[in-house]
């Protein structure tokens, strides 16, 4: 249902951005040429008729042609998406594993030195403006030292800066959630029971407390993953990364309607799948949800 709402909204909003004819044809193009261009792409029909055509095509899984690239929009989108997914997966993997380990250790001794360092690191991470970190990173590592390439995806070296910049904010946020929910979990009654049983402290932290603390962690990690799937617009543009965020900005500025619609629909679909996965995760982690 959300998908349908999104579909309608995106279709009409993108039509509002203006007439693509002016963008694609030279300024001195004749009126006939313009009319022909409009007819070819169906821009001369009333909006509602255009929408009808669009829906009809959709039901045949035809997402329309990208005017700019002169290829089916779905192909263009499916070319870009794997890059974004790879980037998101790699980043989230690093984020979640490091946040869980560091956050759990920080929560084991709240107020200790390690906890303080972790807190400052997480707050700094969550506060960092990614676009700024990215250009300062380019300035330092690419321009001044010449260690890393500035853009593209040619080699593993190309991935270091985008991943590092994307890493910061989710890491900061998830680290805080891990720490807080681990502190709550470690203060709960079943931890006392485990201590009374003589269970090792490491087992208590990583077996008893962590699994209970995972629910809020999963929620926030899911939100952040969704954010990355949205296309890391800023990072992708700065580092010239061929992902969906970069594609979408181009598509909008060039009024490539079919491409914008397809990209957003695909994103929404992925987000929907992602949320389904998170719900499944809840059920796996907590038997009370499974039986509820």
């Amino acid at each position: 249902m959300a998908l349908i709402g999104l579909l309608i909204l995106v279709f009409f909003l993108s039509r509002l951005t203006g007439d693509p004819t002016n963008l694609y044809l030279p300024i001195d193009a004749s009126l006939e040429a313009r009319q022909q261009f409009r007819e070819m792409h169906g821009f001369d029909d009333p909006l509602i008729v255009q929408f009808g055509h669009y829906l009809q095509d959709l039901s045949r899984l035809d997402f329309g042609m990208s005017i700019r690239k002169e290829r089916p929009a779905i192909d263009v989108v499916l070319d870009a998406y794997p890059w974004t997914i790879r980037l998101a997966l790699l980043t989230m993997l690093l984020v979640v594993s490091s946040a869980i380990v560091i956050g759990s250790l920080a929560a084991a001794k709240p107020g200790g030195l390690f906890d303080r360092i972790a807190s400052v690191a997480s707050i700094a991470g969550a506060s960092a403006p990614d676009f700024w970190i990215a250009i300062v990173g380019i300035l330092l590592f690419a321009v001044s030292f010449g260690w890393l390439p500035t853009s593209g995806v040619g080699s593993p070296w190309h991935w270091i800066m985008p991943v590092a910049v994307l890493f910061l904010r989710p890491f900061g946020l998830i680290l805080q959630v891990v720490r807080n929910s681990m502190i709550t979990a470690l203060a709960s009654a079943y931890v006392k029971t485990a201590r009374a049983k003589g269970v090792r402290e490491r087992t208590i932290i990583f077996v008893h407390a962590l699994r209970n603390a995972m629910l809020p962690i999963l929620t926030v990690a899911g939100d952040q993953a969704v954010g990355l799937l949205n296309g890391a617009v800023v990072v992708e543009t700065i580092f010239g990364f061929p992902g969906i965020g970069n594609l979408m900005i181009d598509a909008i500025t060039q009024r490539d309607f079919a491409l914008v619609q397809t990209a957003i629909m695909m994103t929404a679909l992925l987000i929907f799948l992602m949320n389904l996965l998170i719900d499944l995760g809840y059920a796996v982690l907590d038997p009370r949800i499974r039986h509820g």
């Binding site: 009654a189 029971t193 009374a196 049983k197 003589g198 038997p287």
Partner: protein, 550 residues
């Protein structure tokens, strides 16, 4: 009986001069001060105390369960096998926990890990101390069988939330006894349970103690529980042990003033109210016929209606006369609280009729409901959540007059709040304070003052004293009885056990599974209960009666 071992100086467990502080928002609290006691093989020592007396902190110190900070163990020794646990290396101490000294707790739902099966959790006690392989599963099933969990091999894979409170406590006991410890510390093991279940758990603990010869350290606030199982008692008050001795000494010849006062507050020992006379002539306040409240059972993610219902209240009849106190007794799930909520119009009944002074309360309209609200007030169970934490006492009480504008003119509010506070035994200067600045008993007094603000005819007390310490319980019941005499109030007094009702009710109604099983005058119920459930309830309610000669 314990003198021979005591003389040899070799106790199973000995606590000497233990002192523990806690840092709180209100400064350091001396939770435990210079506490000394000992426990011998095969005996049951009860540490008796009200909330905040430091009894649980003492137990936590033995088990290394105090978080430092905010806790701080200032000094003392806990001797086991000639060694001081407090100064033992962490790993050695961990090795003793669960193997030699084990513990069970009060709130079993919170104390069992919700995301692991109970079989796994019992097995962990074994694995933590080197048992592995098939032996773990076998011993787990054996333990579950021993604590009378039916069908152990299937139930072992279930999760804590799939068990009842009594069963969960059995699981806890199985877990604690996995490695046949020498000492079992039981921290309020039966407090949250129904009286009939409580009796079963106490019996099980008693059996297991004789069977294994372990020493049982029982922490409780309940004099009845102490009378039931303990051999010796240490009475704690404000962090100190004020008196220790064999149970008969403590119950029959208490020496310390606090112990004496405590013994005097045991509910169910006062004189019974005589059967009221001439009530038939008056018009009843409440007249309830066949009242029912059913909840539909829903299933799955989409709350699909299954067509089945839970009959929380299932055809209840009663009348309440002016000036009368009707006690309603029932265990959890008996429907007594749903009945109260229905009478208070917080729930809509599914069937039956309820009349107040001849007016049908089921069909009250906006205006008539408003008038009804003025006449019938309530005092709820939990004094910590029944007062809005953001309002001070004056606002809490005066809110009634903001809603019902014609009761008290605004310029008299201050005076009336002072009067009400005085009536419930509090001072006028309490009016400016906030709920968190009061103890549980004081909060319940505030709640009573709030109920009185509208000058009601009936107050429905839903477990109004259940959450309070016994000595406070006695005070609040006395206050309610005084108010009834002075203001001519009627009460519907709801409780989960009989002794509390004993001293205040005129008539008693016993409920089970949504139905009334027996109604009678308080004398009939206590002296000649007709229904077998009432008899069981009476028998299970631990009214401490310690015979002079055992």
């Amino acid at each position: 009986m314990t003198d021979s071992t005591a003389a040899s100086g070799e106790h199973l467990l000995e606590v000497r001069n233990l002192s523990v502080d806690f840092h709180t928002t209100h400064g350091d609290v001396h939770a435990v001060r210079n506490v000394s006691f000992h426990l011998d093989r095969g005996e049951t020592l009860a540490i008796l105390g009200e909330s905040g007396s430091g009894k649980s902190v003492s137990a936590s110190a033995i088990m290394n369960l105090i978080d430092c900070p905010p806790g701080n163990i200032l000094g003392g020794e806990v001797l086991y096998g000639g060694r001081d646990l407090l100064r033992m290396p962490v790993d050695e101490r961990r090795d003793l926990q669960g193997r030699k000294i084990a513990m069970i707790f009060q709130d079993t739902l919170a104390h069992l890990n919700p995301v692991y099966s109970i079989g796994w959790q019992i097995g962990e006690a074994l694995r933590a101390h080197g048992v592995s392989g098939k032996a773990v599963r076998e011993r787990t099933l054996e333990l579950l069988g021993r604590v009378d969990i039916p069908d152990p091999s299937r139930r072992a894979d279930d999760y804590p939330h799939q068990f009842s409170g009594g069963q969960r406590q059995r699981v806890m006991i199985a877990m604690a006894l996995a490695l046949r410890p020498e000492i079992l510390i039981a921290d309020e093991p039966t407090t949250a349970l129904d009286v009939t279940v409580q009796a079963q758990i106490l019996k099980l603990l008693e059996e297991l103690r004789t069977e294994t010869g372990m020493g049982l350290l029982l922490i409780t606030h309940d004099l009845g529980v102490v009378a039931e199982v303990a051999e010796r008692v240490a009475v704690m008050q404000a962090g100190e042990i004020v008196e220790t001795g064999p149970i008969r000494e403590i119950f029959n010849r208490p020496k310390h003033a606090y112990t004496q006062r405590l013994m005097g507050t045991i509910p169910g020992r006062g004189a019974l109210v005589e059967d009221a006379q001439g009530e038939d002539r008056a018009q009843p306040l409440f007249e309830v016929r066949g009242l029912a409240k059913h909840y539909p059972i829903t299933k799955g993610m989409f709350r699909r209606d299954t067509g089945e219902v839970v009959k929380a209240v299932d055809g209840v009849d009663f009348v309440l006369m002016p000036g009368e106190v009707l006690g309603i007794v029932g265990e959890s799930g008996s429907g007594k609280s749903t009945l109260a909520r229905t009478l208070l119009k917080l729930e809509t009944p599914s069937g039956g009729t309820a009349h107040y002074r001849g007016e049908d309360i089921v069909t009250l309209e906006r205006d008539t409901l408003f008038a009804y609200r003025r006449k019938v007030q309530a005092v709820f169970q939990d004094p910590y959540s029944s007062l809005n934490p953001r309002m001070n006492v004056f606002e809490l009480i005066a809110e009634a007059w903001r809603i019902h504008r014609n009761v008290v003119p605004r310029e008299e509010w201050r005076q009336r709040v002072d009067d009400l506070l005085d009536k419930v035994g509090m001072r006028p200067d309490h009016a400016r304070r906030y709920p968190h600045q009061f103890s549980g008993g004081q909060r319940q007094r505030i709640a009573i003052a709030r109920a009185l603000a509208l000058e009601p005819e009936v107050i429905i007390c839903d477990e109004a004293v259940s959450a309070l310490d016994v000595s406070i319980q006695a005070q609040v019941i006395k206050l309610l009885a005084d108010l009834r005499d002075r203001l001519g109030l009627s009460y519907i007094f709801i409780a989960h056990d009989l002794p509390v009702i004993h001293d205040i009710a005129d008539r008693v109604m016993v409920m089970k599974d949504g139905k009334v099983v027996e109604t009678g005058t308080v004398r009939q119920i206590f002296e000649a209960p007709a229904h077998s459930y009432t008899q069981a309830l009476l028998k299970a309610s631990p009214v401490p009666e310690i015979a002079e000669v055992a």
